[in-house]
Symmetry: C2
Subunit: 341 residues, 2 copies
DNA sequence: GTTTTTTGCTTAAACGTTTAAGCAAAAATT
DNA sequence: AATTTTTGCTTAAACGTTTAAGCAAAAAAC
């Protein structure tokens, strides 16, 4: 019963005594094939349980209909939601996606790029690892002539598309909100400056302070890897200051969680004594006590836009990689950790 | 400057005035090619920036070196960790993985199977959606003659490999622990019985109660979809009982979170009045207040085993799909929600 | 110095499609 | 009725590899 040999286009051709080419055309509804033949071919295909060999057609057409996706990790709600929407959008057009994770490692990321190129993907949609400082390795993708679309982490000066939120404005939103809550000493636990989006958040923070005539204190601006662990460390560092902050804006939710843990442990009242705002709107921000205010990055929209941007390139014959930045506005979700009491 | 045309094996052959076959063999270190030629070929390959065309070799060899992975979702720590370990293990042997999500939908899952088969994967590693009641559609995979390995959700009577934890024993562990904390009325918010692993947890719960001579009360055993929302609903239902439970064992962490939220909202002291134990050891169980006791499912080990099980099949010439269940013991992580006070 | 073995390649076919080019028969146009 | 156009196919080549088979030259064995 073991139907080992897969049925090919030739098998169908043999049954009907026509050429393989005719079968191929019939299956693709070529106008030069009679309706009668098309029906017959499709019937036989069904009977023999024919499944097209994707490798063969991809080889012949020079196009795999696969799109590679590189993310730092999938176990974050943001990335998993982006991925889901990319997939949905691309599936509609007959593309499938290959997801790879860099685990925040530059080396792994380079590996992933090689893997995807090796698999002959038709395009790559990526968000960079924390470690990734420059986009040199990504040049490899461009030099292959396949579309590259970056999102979230990965704003760039390369001639490459980018989808993200307005980080600079988001910082303003947060500082505005905290000032409204009568906060005077607002600290910022930011990401590494070398990553553009984190640098934008820092710039936004600094400019917003100026706007409100709040003095900028170097002790209150700290760079961090934004892990929960590092959030703890940087919070402890801030609490050692003589002149403590009365609000903390953390550029990532995981680090904000770490900060909150320290505050809770030291019985510092949040938000009464110190208000806290995170970034990313990870689901756990609504789970912890107190719930953490955070910024919603519109993951679904980012995913959809990344996909459609790829499709625009794919549909063009000529590959014209043009700088095409799409910047969305984010929403501040105010929760207990920064709410007026 | 646009190096549009990719360099092929033939280009290398032309440069060196040897045949394409010789180049192919040289690149694969065939013993019948001289060291001198090999060196030359590799040098030229490097110079021309040669990248093998995976599609062509896959087509010729009848083997794509791709393995498909199907998970209900990636934004859970369990699945993302399993995936990461599958990938690591398979990469070592030259395989790459394609990750797809079912979003807990049976229809999407069937779609994913088709997609993966279409992409000519060499095997599929999957955990089933909540909705998936039977493995009928998975027969398609078996009938193609490619290895299928199920993990976590997907224990089965099919002749298919399975990797998972001992759910029955885990329930015993949890009940034993709660009894040790002097709990007498232990409720269970379980998953749907039609899924084997949840049924096993239910059986373990029932048998453990018997073991400790605790009466089994039908009001205390509830089936649930195990979402946070449904966890809330089922908790509210339990609190309406005249004779309330003094401990709740929830078969999933997200539902346990919902239950905890309700308990907190109603100012019911956890664990003093009602103790709570979840399942899955999702990171947030250690983030919420109080922290939730849970069961660690050894995601890394499950991932590794799933990968090596696939590799065992792949290495064999003949596909002998034999029932090969690997059952791991899980660990109970006791946290505040069930700790003796 | 002849025979056998080994080395180092080449040739050609194959994997399953797609597609350009071509051609006979049928249909439409004159 | 002769010519042109359209229809419905076929043939053959191509995509970039891998691999079985083969063969001449070099090396080893006698």
């Amino acid at each position: 019963m073991a139907n080992k040999k897969k049925t090919t286009i030739k098998d169908i051709a043999n049954v009907l005594n026509i050429s393989a080419a005719a079968v191929s055309k019939a299956l693709h509804d070529d106008s030069r094939i009679s309706e009668k033949t098309k029906k017959a071919v499709k019937q036989v295909a069904k009977n023999l349980n024919y499944q097209p060999n994707h490798l063969a057609s991809a080889l012949r057409k020079g196009k795999s209909n696969l799109v590679g996706v590189i993310v730092p990790r999938t176990n974050s709600n943001f990335f998993s939601s982006v991925i889901q929407n990319i997939e949905e959008e691309l599936n509609k057009e007959g593309y499938n996606i290959i997801i790879t994770q860099s685990n925040e490692s530059y080396k792994k990321e380079c590996n992933n790029i090689d893997t995807l190129l090796f698999t002959q993907v038709d395009g790559i949609i990526a968000s960079m690892a924390n470690e990734t400082v420059n986009l040199e390795y990504y040049e490899k993708i461009k030099s292959k002539g396949i579309p590259l679309i970056l999102f979230d982490r990965g704003e760039n000066d390369l001639n490459v598309d980018y989808i993200g939120i307005n980080d600079y404005d988001s910082s303003h939103m947060i500082v505005d909100h905290l000032v409204q809550q009568n906060r005077k000493r607002i600290a910022h636990i930011g990401g590494y400056k070398h990553t553009r989006i984190f640098n934008n958040r820092i710039r936004g923070y600094v400019d917003a302070l100026k706007k409100h005539n709040l003095p900028q204190d170097n002790d209150l601006l700290i760079e961090s890897s934004l892990t929960t662990e590092d959030g703890r460390a940087k919070m402890i560092q801030l609490l050692k200051l003589k002149d403590k902050p009365d609000a903390i804006y953390v550029a990532g939710d995981y680090a904000a969680l770490g900060a909150l843990q320290v505050l809770n442990e030291q019985n510092i009242k949040v938000p009464e004594e110190i208000a806290l705002v995170g970034f990313g709107n990870e689901p756990f921000t609504a789970m912890v006590t107190p719930t953490i205010s955070s910024v919603n990055q519109h993951s679904a929209e980012i995913g959809r836009l990344a996909a459609t941007t790829f499709l625009e390139h794919a549909k063009k014959e000529v590959i014209t990689q043009s700088l095409n930045k799409k910047i969305l506005n984010a929403d501040l979700i105010v929760r207990d950790s920064s709410k007026k009491n």
